[in-house]
């Protein structure tokens, strides 16, 4: 806790566990950055490769499912399943629950665990296909050698779900300082397809390897939300405005006659969008385009296109095989924002104006109707742009992007050159009827709520939400839940319908999986309406009215909104 990583034990799992602990608890970016740098300074190369892999979402395959893992813990700690569940509900994290319940080895502080992070991860890979007994022997004997911190990290490595307070950008920055190479170069080199088990640190960070991996995307440049007066941005004509489309940000890459589609989450999605095969034939080699993967209605003529609600796209992702029906009901197009590589050259350093010209050239040479260039919105004053913004929803967009014409294409979220100016969300007043304990940092509080609208004298649940309140408000609602629960079903409590909240959301779609017949996009609590009573909330009728207005593009079967 707060100790320096530069202990005297050498770099073992313990140091990695300490790093994770600092990253997870520190509230200051600089402290986290420093901890990462300290680690990179002293860690063995193979450990570094694994840390890069883990923090960029390249986890080793899960070797055992959580239920079996929990079963071994029950056995060792000699406790009943109900008590384990009770603990899990309080902790909110399975790996941590297990780490807390396993007995502590009295002597482990003196002897110490000599194994390294890579040792554990390589062993996971080695025993992946072995019997359950082999895995059990390895895991339970590893537990015996570890302190609580190590057990936690080890369990997280086994169960996947390694989400701690560190962004890929932060990791890249720390690495850049350690190896003294600029962070945009690092970010590019560690992107794409590589296997931590077979890649050495030198290979990973060396130019030559990067050049031979043709699939490698560039790190995405992300915008900040406009947070001040637009006038402060200066002269209007230094800026370009476009619609902000609501799909999945992606990169399409054509290199070496091969074609790749990457999502912003650095997931390779080439197979999911057979429509894009046409681009593959038409785009010249050495082209990388940044844009939006999005469901579009009927193939557009005359450049006019209208996106389908996000729910349509959702029917396409998360599925292994795509049916013909999906292809016709939710066809996917691509709206191009930017070009990052042209004729094999990385042109991110050029100004956006120059890049836009090249992009227009490239798009003009293709003739596939679902590939569009993101239209530029012309405007003379910020005020005028504000008026245009109010039409976003009619366009099927979620607001406006404002980009500095002279800006290079940067990596990660950076202030200054790109801004997003989203439209105000839709809102509805609803009453809370169920509550459930949160996970992770809110594991001891009731923070996950289900909300209902009125339908005559009945209440109809229509959405869940778990964000938008301050910690103080959550504490107050939590105490209300504890005092006013009517029934308990497992972790869920039925609560007296008394607290009214304004629920904000970005979109609405018809759904036959929800009792209310609607599914919301990005619902969250925007305000606690302490001024309203439960009988003053909105009605199911109001929701249906919204659906009529904002979901004219047709009915979509939402799977998991």
């Amino acid at each position: 806790m707060g100790e320096s990583l530069l202990g005297n034990e050498g770099i073992t799992m313990k140091q990695f566990a300490k790093l994770v602990n600092i990253l997870g608890t520190s509230t200051k970016t600089n402290d986290k950055l420093q901890a990462l740098q300290d680690y990179f300074e002293v860690a063995a190369d193979q450990d570094k490769v694994w840390v890069i892999a883990i923090f960029s979402g390249r986890r080793p395959k899960r070797i055992i499912n959580s239920t079996i893992l929990a079963g071994w813990c029950l056995e060792i700690a000699a406790i009943e399943p109900w008590l384990f569940d009770e603990c899990y509900h309080t902790v909110g994290d399975l790996g941590e629950t297990i780490a807390l319940l396993l007995p502590e080895q009295e002597t482990q502080n003196e002897t110490g665990n000599e194994h390294t992070l890579s040792y554990y991860l390589q062993t996971f890979i080695r025993i992946e296909k072995e019997t359950e007994q082999v895995k059990k022997d390895f895991i339970t004997s590893s537990w015996q050698q570890m302190d609580r911190n190590e057990k936690f990290v080890f369990n997280k490595l086994i169960t996947g779900g390694f989400r701690i307070g560190v962004s890929q950008t932060m990791m890249v920055n720390a690495l850049a300082k350690t190896v003294k190479v600029s962070s945009s170069i690092i970010a590019h080199r560690i992107s794409g397809n590589w296997d931590p088990a077979t890649t050495s640190f030198d290979d990973l960070l060396s130019e030559t390897v990067a050049a031979t991996d043709f699939s490698k995307p560039y790190p995405f440049y992300l915008a900040y939300a406009v947070d001040e007066d637009l006038d402060k941005l200066g002269e209007e004509d230094l800026w370009q405005a476009e619609w902000k489309w609501d799909g999945i940000r992606g990169q399409i890459i054509k290199r070496n006659k091969d074609f790749f589609v990457w999502s912003r989450g650095e997931e390779l999605m080439t197979e999911k969008f057979p429509e894009y095969n046409h681009f593959k034939d038409q785009l010249p080699d050495g082209t990388v385009i940044d844009g939006e993967i999005i469901s579009l209605g009927a193939p557009a003529e005359d450049g006019v296109f209208k996106p389908l609600p996000f729910a349509a796209l959702q029917t396409r992702i998360g599925r292994k095989t795509i049916t013909k029906k999906q292809l016709t009901e939710a066809p996917v197009g691509f709206i191009a924002y930017d070009i990052l590589e042209f004729e094999g050259e990385d042109i991110r350093y050029k100004s956006m104006e120059e890049r836009r010209q090249l992009l227009e050239q490239v798009i003009a040479k293709t003739n596939y109707p679902a590939l569009h260039i993101s239209p530029v919105i012309s405007f003379n004053t910020w005020e005028e742009l504000g008026v245009t913004r109010t039409k976003s929803r009619d366009m099927g967009s979620e607001g406006i992007m404002i980009k500095r014409k002279s800006s290079p294409y940067q990596s990660g979220r950076k202030r200054g050159d790109w801004w997003k100016w989203k439209i105000d969300p839709l809102t509805i007043d609803a009453v809370m009827i169920y509550a459930q304990k949160g996970h992770g940092r809110r594991s001891n509080l009731y923070t996950d709520y289900t909300f209902a609208v009125k339908d005559g004298d009945k209440l109809v649940p229509f959405t869940k939400a778990y964000s938008g309140l301050t910690d103080k408000e959550f504490a107050q609602v939590d105490s209300f839940v504890k005092r006013n629960s009517i029934e308990k079903f497992g972790p869920v409590r039925t609560v007296k319908p008394e607290l009214v909240f304004e629920i904000a959301f970005e979109g609405i779609a018809a759904s036959n999986r929800h009792k209310s017949g609607v599914a919301l996009r990005f619902p969250r609590m925007s305000r606690w309406r302490t001024d309203k009573k439960a009988d003053e909330i909105n009605t199911l009728e109001d929701l249906k009215e919204m659906l009529k207005i904002y979901n004219q593009q047709g009915v979509v079967e939402a799977t998991d909104l």
Binding site: G2, T25, L83, E86, C87, R441, N444, S479
Partner: protein
């Protein structure tokens, strides 16, 4: 009729016509300890331990107090009442109640590890034991006090090296005095918030020898604080009062810090799972040591703890009280109080 009933005002002994830690004003109150969720304002008479009396005076003002020593029986309408160390904070007591050969013990808050200032928990044999269960889940297993102190000292030393002030969040009564011992060994000046100062003074005035501390004043020079230690109550965490210490690192001492998510939610830089309550193993050990045939669990994870006891063959029930339960709620109570007390 049971010797102690669970009434809407608190634990009630009908035969003796007195309450233990009532949460509403009553005629006769027997108080386990001076925390605000146990010692409430408005009763006509308070019976407590000698060490608790000055703390009640500080928190509740002038009232009719009677104080006794450990195991010094008082008879109230034929009911024998005596106080026994609970090890929770200074003066904290378990209340033993005996009538016609039947013995009940109400634990109040307790911990089984001897922290060196709160008195060593004494197991009291009884027929019925009313136990707290704030940390009544097996995930709560405390490290030894000495090891946690070591962690805290390392953290302070590291901050000092980085030229940061160590702001340690600890309840003004109990935890603050407890962490003061190891901190004073570091030879660094220790500054305290007004709420901690008030408790500290009350204890010093009643004869406690505590390490020296300095109250943070509006005119305390910033240079004096750099790299040193500040002890503040939870209510001060995140308020503008902290600005003065910048650059600083915040460490929170609370049993809830056992779970990572809680440390993150409190936005604290370092969490130390140092508690004045018994952990799961301490609770079990205490229950077994009483030899009680019947146990009532309250104040925390009572349903899980009582279910577990039943499975172990110890008849147990859960009781709803208005004691802090999850430290969060008692924190709210304590906060208001501390704001009132901290006039400077």
């Amino acid at each position: 009729m049971p010797l102690i009933e669970f009434s809407d005002k608190g634990l009630y002994c009908r035969q003796g016509n007195f309450y233990i830690d009532p949460w509403k004003p009553v005629d006769k109150a027997v108080i386990t300890h001076a925390h605000s969720d146990h010692a409430r304002w408005g009763s006509k008479y308070y019976l407590c331990h000698h060490l608790t009396k000055p703390l009640l005076q500080l928190r509740l003002g002038d009232n009719l107090y009677e104080s006794v020593d450990w195991n010094e029986p008082v008879f109230i309408n034929g009911v024998k009442v005596s106080l026994h160390p609970a090890g929770h904070i200074i003066g904290s007591a378990q209340i033993r109640v005996e009538y016609e050969g039947e013995v009940w013990v109400a634990s109040g808050d307790y911990k089984t590890e001897d922290d060196g200032i709160s008195g060593a928990f004494e197991p009291v044999p009884c027929n019925t034991f009313i136990t707290e269960s704030t940390f009544g889940l097996p995930i709560y297993k405390w490290k030894k006090q000495l090891d946690i102190f070591e962690d805290i000292k390392n953290w302070v030393a590291q901050n000092k090296e980085n030229k940061k002030t160590s702001v340690l969040i600890a309840y003004s009564l109990g935890k603050a005095q407890r962490v003061l011992m190891p901190l004073s060994e570091m030879g660094l000046p220790v500054y305290v918030h007004g709420a901690v100062w008030n408790v500290h003074q009350a204890l010093v005035n009643s004869g406690w020898k505590l390490p020296e501390v300095t109250r943070v004043q509006p005119d305390t020079p910033k240079e004096d604080l750099v790299g040193n230690i500040v002890i503040a109550p939870p209510s001060a965490d995140g308020t503008p009062w902290m600005k003065k210490f910048y650059p600083y690192s915040v460490g929170t001492c609370s049993g809830w810090m056992q779970v990572r998510g809680n440390a993150r939610r409190r936005n604290t830089d370092a969490g130390f799972a140092l508690s004045d309550h018994a952990d799961w193993y301490g609770l079990l050990q205490a229950v077994k040591a009483t030899g009680a045939q019947k146990v009532y669990a309250t104040h925390g994870f009572q349903s899980a703890f009582s279910r577990f006891l039943n499975e172990q063959g110890i008849e147990a029930g859960e009781v709803k009280t208005e004691y802090g339960g999850e430290e969060e709620e008692s924190k709210a109570a304590e906060e208001t109080e501390e704001i009132i007390m901290d006039n400077g």
